[in-house]
């Protein structure tokens, strides 16, 4: 499989133009920033509070924006053009994910700045955020490939936004309903757990299990996405 940055960059630039012209999608990136600003004014200074905006950024920017970009490409039949071009699967998926990735990281940075979140170990949290963003962008790509139109994509992405942005609160009832313990293995909950451990002074070695679980989610989503993409390449 080939990999050319020039091609990835070409797809990225095209996506940037499409994104900046589509107000219905581009306006969404401001929601986490507004939330972060509101939270800081309300005096919220807990890991749960900070990571609610971070997880919301993942869901709204990483997943929603990515899902809409892919679905739009499909609706306009331009994804087919890319598939027929010499660009490899990795170049297409990489190029199509780069904008969402950059946006997610930038919005998380500004959200953290607005909500005055200063992690005890920025390196560990940064790696975890980058790893998690791959999962959310992967989910967005998958849903975008499954959706038949942009309209449909904005509907099917809603449960994902709900589950991953506020789903972590379900753990409160885990004591009463043991079945809800599975929620603890979700990537958003793992990220919060990791951040809490870091605040308590944990190092890389102490959060390996969190990294491991998030990585498994990333691998599963990537495999699913690539397999659906390959299926879409066939008529």
């Amino acid at each position: 499989m080939t990999f050319s940055w020039k091609r990835v960059n070409a797809i990225f630039q095209k996506d940037y133009k499409d994104f900046s012209r589509n107000m219905a999608v581009s306006i969404v990136i401001f929601l986490p920033l507004i939330m972060a600003a509101l939270y800081s004014r309300m005096g919220v200074d807990s890991i749960q509070g900070h990571f609610m905006t971070i997880n919301m950024t993942f869901a709204m920017v990483g997943t929603y924006v990515q899902c809409c970009l892919i679905a739009e490409e499909k609706e306009k039949n331009t994804l087919r053009g890319l598939m027929l071009s010499p660009a490899s699967t990795l170049e297409i998926l990489g190029g199509k994910s780069l904008l969402s990735f950059v946006l997610t990281i930038v919005i998380i940075f500004f959200s953290a700045f607005l909500s005055e979140y200063k992690p005890a170990n920025i390196a560990i949290v940064a790696v975890a955020i980058i790893l998690s963003s791959l999962f959310y962008i992967g989910i967005g790509t998958l849903l975008g490939l499954v959706a038949r139109s942009v309209m449909e994509s904005s509907v099917i992405v809603l449960p994902v936004i709900g589950i991953f942005s506020v789903g972590s609160f379900v753990t409160v009832w885990a004591e009463k309903y043991p079945i809800l313990k599975v929620v603890e293995y979700m990537p958003n909950v793992q990220l919060i757990d990791l951040a809490e451990k870091v605040e308590a002074g944990a190092g890389f070695a102490d959060v390996l299990s969190n990294f491991g679980i998030i990585s498994v989610w990333v691998v599963v989503v990537c495999l699913l996405t690539v397999s659906v993409f390959k299926k879409r390449m066939m008529d």
Binding site: K6, G81, S85
Partner: protein, 184 residues
Amino acid sequence: MKLYCQLYDLPVSKIEEALGFVNLKEASKKKVSELSKGMTQRVLLARATLHEPELLFLDEPTSALDPVNTLHIYEGLRALNKKGTTIFLTTHDMQEADTLCDRVAFLNKGKIQIMDEPSELKKKFSDLTLTVELENKEKVVLQKDATGAEEMYQLMKENRVVTVHSNEPTLGDIFVKVTGGELV
């Protein structure tokens, strides 16, 4: 077009060449959404030929085009073919197939019924007659044999012949004969 130049690793100058091929140089600054159906079709054709592919599949490439642009596309396709591109053309327009194709295949119910050069097909399905138009606008059908030659000699001797046409069937006629159906 710029995106596809980058994807195919081509110089941007190729865009002008490709737009020239489809007679769209003057519209190069316009947005595709502002173009007519025929012009959009020409943009798609320009994009498909941008990298001068070895094999090009075209489906009704001139269906929405006016005769002037159709001829322009024909010239471009011939030039592309001369450069080495094999063109696989799907069309209902038998005139187009006759003009452009080196070999034609008639498909019916998913099967190739017959495949050959257009001229060979016409010879194969010809009824071996000539139509001669005389000076009094009368048309005489002659066989392409010794008897016909004698009759023709006589008519020419009397200086009565205005035009002579070989009665070859069109590709459309051959399709109907071969498939027993009509072009759908």
